[in-house]
Symmetry: C2
């Protein structure tokens, strides 16, 4: 059978994530992955969550196993609220929704806003999962370049001025994926001024905000927002467990209401057991102490990666900015135009990195950049992985 | 702030499910609900799942808490495959995907197929969750009336003939929601013939197929499909737990691949813990024995509901067909045109039912029908609920 006639336009040209394709090749256990976005699993509170899950299912089987409400289990909503309030990111006109991972929050926010052909401003480069979500609504991505202190505000204004039809800006302002950069407080204020001036919304995606290991905290866009323009998407994936798929959306009520309706026809509600487990975990344990342990570990891992890069990378051939938090480090190789052959040679040498083209608006344009992840591998594997990568770079740059 | 300008067309006129609104009014514990679609919670294997969850998190914390793959945990895919194979519903050209509840499978199948303005044939009436999912892709719903033995094949052919642009038929052939009817084997064969003749796909939604308590099994459409036209959506919600949100899609590879990409940007993957729990449950226990207990209970509950209806409903004023399985019973009141006042009076009398308009293509047209659910309430509450309903019907018909 030929299925082309049945495909919606939105999926006709859609390609799977090259990262995912790479993961398939990475079944080889000898490959050291610096490619993924996995949080460190060595600190997962398996024993604590084991006891909690056992108890929740024994004492509240109906609550854990029966249908729940689309907006989320009320106590879970309170947990999400407490996380958002810690960074002053719930306004009085906001509603909170529990979503099955922050990605769902971004996908459904886009679905509530974007018609076919609508333009959405995104950082260039940005997180492929979000970009691909926007592509499924046949939106046009308008990339604005990212600088060491976040999105270029000059370019943003130019873009907004040129096109009054733009409805929304998508940003990961803190420890951005893939660049690891953080938008300065001044730029955040400026972005809100521009959003007001040109009447656009902002989707603030903040999965890494809790993972700062150096420097000073910067206020969230949502906390600076006096006009209810920001849809704030938070996540438990990097502070508790990604496999549990728990995220939340804080949005002005009229928008939250639409996202809730879209969620109802998407997956009805987020699984109950994982919500109940998160509630119990936050009641019984100090989640901030757990996050602090992760932060410390990520600081060490990042330092080890940078130290190894300085040791093994060919001198002067690779540029990077050391991140102050999060899980990613972004590299540029100014002497070449396309990193793809390097990435392929790396796989032969049993180390995986992600080429920059994956995060680009135009995924077919060559890129001389690549993304490294330091949260997932152990300290030893990090050094060994960077050593292998350094050998390839020395050979090919 | 005024948000109308930011809303996508798809959500502008979208209304929340009236059933959900009713649920909010139903916080009153004195109300007996015959309105929902909840499976019986009295049989939930809470103790078994408690032990399983505790053990899985203790022995495999990384697997349970780290990111998983979009298509599903491999052993969970095998579990889904075994359920589908039991009804001969996996072909050699098919792929299996695990989804976060069957609703996600339907939503993303529609997203892969439907462009704005595309027409999709649905049973009239049909499940509001699916109809609303199709509406979010701005598809046009073409209703085909449902008869005691399933969708009218004459009307289906008329519709397909009239519009060569139709791409897909959505059907719940077994114990349909809301009517409880089952499509005959003859009609299933005819539907496949028509699908072939007019070159359309079929989405077969089969959440209730395991819940037969009388009559003879009818083969699934998927099992009769020799041309790989059927996308089969299965669920663990009615045979294990809806709160776990586990469903699966069996689809020809080219379509499954697109659905998988859409799932990746929707919620990345289905939570790992619930997948692992389902795998262990099916390994350690006989899920068919568990389903058999449910079937027996639902047969008893249905019989109790019908017996109570015969006792308390005004004679000759309400028509219904006794279902052979599933969880719903559909009633028509030929002497009135609009059931809405009855539904409201019922809430005053502390019993909840769902008006037929909720399941209609045109939700604003009045309906003289209503849906009853017999799986959720206890036998005592079922009789008391029908007694209260009977009093209202006697008063108002």
């Amino acid at each position: 059978m030929e299925y082309t006639r049945f495909m919606a336009d939105r999926v006709k040209t859609m390609k799977g994530s090259a990262i995912r394709e790479m993961f398939k090749r990475m079944a080889d256990p000898e490959i050291i992955s610096l490619a993924g976005g996995n949080p460190a699993s060595e600190l997962f509170p398996g024993e604590e969550l084991s006891k909690i899950a056992g108890k929740v299912l024994m004492t509240s089987p109906t609550l854990a196993l029966q249908y729940g409400t689309t907006d989320g289990y009320p106590k879970m909503k309170e947990c999400a609220r407490s996380r958002a309030q810690k960074v002053n990111s719930v306004g009085e006109n906001d509603e909170i929704l529990i979503v099955t991972g922050a990605n769902q929050g971004i996908d459904l926010s886009a679905k509530a806003i974007l018609n076919k052909g609508d333009k959405i401003v995104v950082e260039s480069p940005s997180f492929i999962g979000s970009l691909n979500a926007f592509r499924t609504y046949e939106a046009q991505l308008v990339g604005v370049k990212i600088e060491d202190d976040g999105m270029s505000m000059e370019e943003l204004e130019k873009v907004l001025k040129a096109d009054p039809g733009i409805k929304v800006i998508y940003t990961i302002p803190t420890f951005q994926n893939p660049t690891g950069t953080t938008m300065s407080a001044e730029k955040r204020k400026r972005m809100l001024e521009l959003a007001s001036k040109y009447d656009v919304l902002i989707i603030e995606d903040n999965p890494y905000g809790d993972l700062r290991f150096s420097g000073e905290d910067v206020p969230t866009l949502k906390s600076l927002d006096t006009e209810d323009r920001v849809i704030y998407v938070g996540s438990f994936s990097k502070i508790l467990s990604p496999g549990m798929r728990l995220g939340y959306v804080v949005a002005p009520a009229p928008i939250a209401e639409k996202i809730e309706m879209l969620k109802q026809v998407n997956d009805v509600h987020t699984p109950m057991l994982t919500q109940l487990m998160c509630v119990e975990f936050m009641k019984k344990y100090d989640i901030d102490a757990y996050i602090a342990k992760n932060r410390e570990l990520y600081g060490k891992k990042c330092a080890k990666m940078v130290e190894s890069m300085e040791k093994y990378f060919p001198a002067g051939k690779v540029k990077w900015v050391v991140p102050e938090g999060g899980i990613f480090l972004w590299c540029e190789c100014p002497t070449i135009t396309d990193i793809a052959p390097v990435v392929n040679r790396c796989l032969e040498k049993k180390v995986a990195i992600v080429p920059g083209s994956n995060f680009a608006i135009d995924i077919n344009a060559p890129s001389n950049m690549f993304r490294l992840n330091y949260s997932s591998a152990t300290l030893e594997k990090l050094e060994e992985g960077i050593k292998r990568l350094g050998e390839v770079l020395t050979e090919m740059l």
